[in-house]
Amino acid sequence: MKKLNELMQPIGPAVNAHRRSFLRTVGAAAVTGGLLTACSTADLQVSPDGARAAAPGDVITLPGGDLGILNYAFVLEQIESRFYELVLANPYEKITAMELQLFQDLRNHEVTHRAFYRAALGSAGIPDLTLDFSSINFRQRTDVLEASRMFAELGTAAYNGGGKYLTDPENLAVAGKIVSVEARHVSIIREMEYMNQTAFAGDNIVVDAGLFIKLEPMEVLPKAQKYVREIIDARNLPTNVA
């Protein structure tokens, strides 16, 4: 029953973050992240390799304009792709062949998105982030599915809310190509959790007039920050449509 109750909740409170309180949230999350790290298993923290690696505690300032929004998406895609790489490296107990295939697919898609942003942004892209998934129990099917669902919902809502800030039609087009795939993920992950019900498009993700939820960058980033050991500074991201 707990799960059903959770399902009826929105994915999180709408944070109407003032810039200063946002930075405070980020700071607190970074400290919490550090504490969690001290007592977590090493293989759930992923340090990037290569020349463009960032280090824990670094402040990564996202640029403004389209580049800012694309880098914002790149943050989310880095989190998602690493998460699924870890799911496959640490499959939970009694995972079925079908579930393994599902996570393989999700991994393929998110790795592709990450590679796309890395290549498309080039030197304008943020470095590879140091990620920390020690708050997730990879041994538990329910935990892994819940985290998968949370990441997919966050991603879909972020693209839904971020699209309007893009000024180059080509950038909007490519973001549009990705968001529907993220929404497909939400649908299937929820179906895995709650078979043959209405969760795939439930009342907490499809709201109002049949509209999928959307979130602003300032609502998304504090949720994402929990998994990133660098500090994401979003002060330059667009907040008003052109």
Binding site: N108, A120, K164, A173, V174, K177, T198, A201, G210
Partner: protein, 267 residues
Amino acid sequence: MNLQSIFTELDKVDEAFFDRLEHVSRRGLFSTLTRKTVAVAAPAIMASALTKAYGQSSELPQNVVDVLNFALLLEYLESDFYEFGTNVPGLIPNEFKPAFEYIRRHEELHVKLLKTVLGPKAIAKPPFDYSAKGMFTDTFTNFQTFSAVSQAFEDTGVRAYKGQAPNLMNAKPILETALRIHATEAAHAARIRYMRGQKGWIPLASLSGLPQSVGSMVYMGEDNVVQKGINLANLLSGQVPLEGITEAFDEPLTREQVTTIVKPFLV
């Protein structure tokens, strides 16, 4: 939010609101004033917000009117299809009824939303032929056919909205609304595909269980691997199979391509 103030607000923007509520409860879907009943009224709230941003619908830019009417045609097509299908006794297996009921409701909401935003500029609902000029002889008597047509509609809907998004960039609140409808259609599409034994996403330009005549059009171009000039097949060679690369991006359809797909369903 206070329910009474919602209703007062709604009553101002949509006099037919209480009639619609009555209509809904007559259908026996909801016997009391639930959250779901309120959702039926939401198009009026949304439209009110949009008309506040744009003044009267008569001031909507013509390109936006065109896109919204194009979307409305597709939503009419889907909405009537599910309205009919969900009322045919024995057509939909019990385990899939909740899914189709939700999809039916969302498409109905999309129609109402678009009609309200367009106001007098909304096109009238044309008659539809769900046999697609005889291509399907058992759309509403064979669940396999019904769900195949549903999959074709949902995947086409995703690709159609996607193709029109750049045409809404001069109307940002409407662009955002269209993106949110688009994601809902994608959630539907994945569910329908999955219940038909397909992956929730589109591998290559695979027919995905649709007949050649339909699937070849619905999935045309889905095998694209170049995004913003970057060839991802080359970039990810040996890391991600080609199929996975194509699944990671849903491709747009042009208005002409969508019209070709939809045309057989128009009387």
